[in-house]
Symmetry: C2
Subunit: 140 residues, 2 copies
DNA sequence: CTCCGTGCAAAGCATTTGCATCCAT
DNA sequence: ATGGATGCAAATGCTTTGCACGGAG
């Protein structure tokens, strides 16, 4: 599954040239539960030898998102990116810690069709975001 | 119900001074299905006699949202505002036309608790946004 | 050799802030 | 009279663009 691919393979599979910078950006994002903004990525990469130009970070994130390797989120008015594997694209977003959890698709599928029948509205099955408080942050 | 209040009363009820500008902003938003950005509000108000300063629009929207009279949305990286009555705060957002429809709460309530049991995640029952395609925009 | 990616600097926008003025209570 | 609201202008911060350089196919 794509989640276990090394960044390099994911890039090739997406039809992108695997450059040092794209590798660095992708590698930084893989395995994170919280989305990162371009600024954050740039900051973390700065400590790396050489670092990656801010412009390049913006372009890489945009490109990778277009290629379907990243999901974009709105973090307090700024665009943030999170790596997505082959995993379901249903997210539970914690308003406390910003973590994004994957939601088992079967839990939502039936409800979505039910909703469709009730309202005539067709939800995007491939991208559902639900905000709330995750178990770890839940008030004790 | 607050939806039928004239803007003036809504402002007073929220503990805000009903100024000409706030009235204008609120009146513009009442009854709209699509959220508007500060820029859009300012533009539409510009044609009005006198118009409203851009800064004031930003401040009014922020204040009104804080007071609970408006809901905020993320429209393509920009903050957008929509009037909310006493209506349920569950929205179905059309990705095609940006319209925001209200969703009957009973359709989601039971599912939310079910989700909670399955995942330990506590969704915000008071604010749920679901993106998709509305009936009007549905591919024929 | 030819492209595409990179990086710097500059430009572009949305949003916020400082400060003097004005209005309504 | 007094505190909040307004508006202009300037500042801030994120993001994009122009353009020349460099490296990979």
């Amino acid at each position: 599954m794509s989640t276990r691919m090394v960044p390099d393979e994911q890039l090739r599979a997406a039809g992108l040239l695997p450059t040092t910078q794209r590798r660095a950006v992708l590698a930084l994002l893989v395995g994170r539960s919280r989305p990162l903004t371009a600024q954050a990525v740039h900051a973390e990469l700065a400590s790396t030898v050489g670092g990656v130009g801010l412009t390049t970070v913006y372009r890489a994130l945009h490109t990778l998102a277009d290629a379907g390797l990243l999901h974009t989120f709105d973090l307090d008015g700024q665009r943030a990116y999170r790596h997505c594997g082959a995993a379901p694209h249903q997210h539970l977003i914690c308003d406390r810690c910003d973590a994004v959890l994957e939601c088992p698709p079967d839990v939502v599928a039936s409800w979505l069709s039910e909703l469709h029948h009730h309202t005539g509205f067709t939800p995007h099955a491939d991208r559902l975001d639900l905000r709330g408080i995750c178990a770890a942050c839940a008030p004790t």
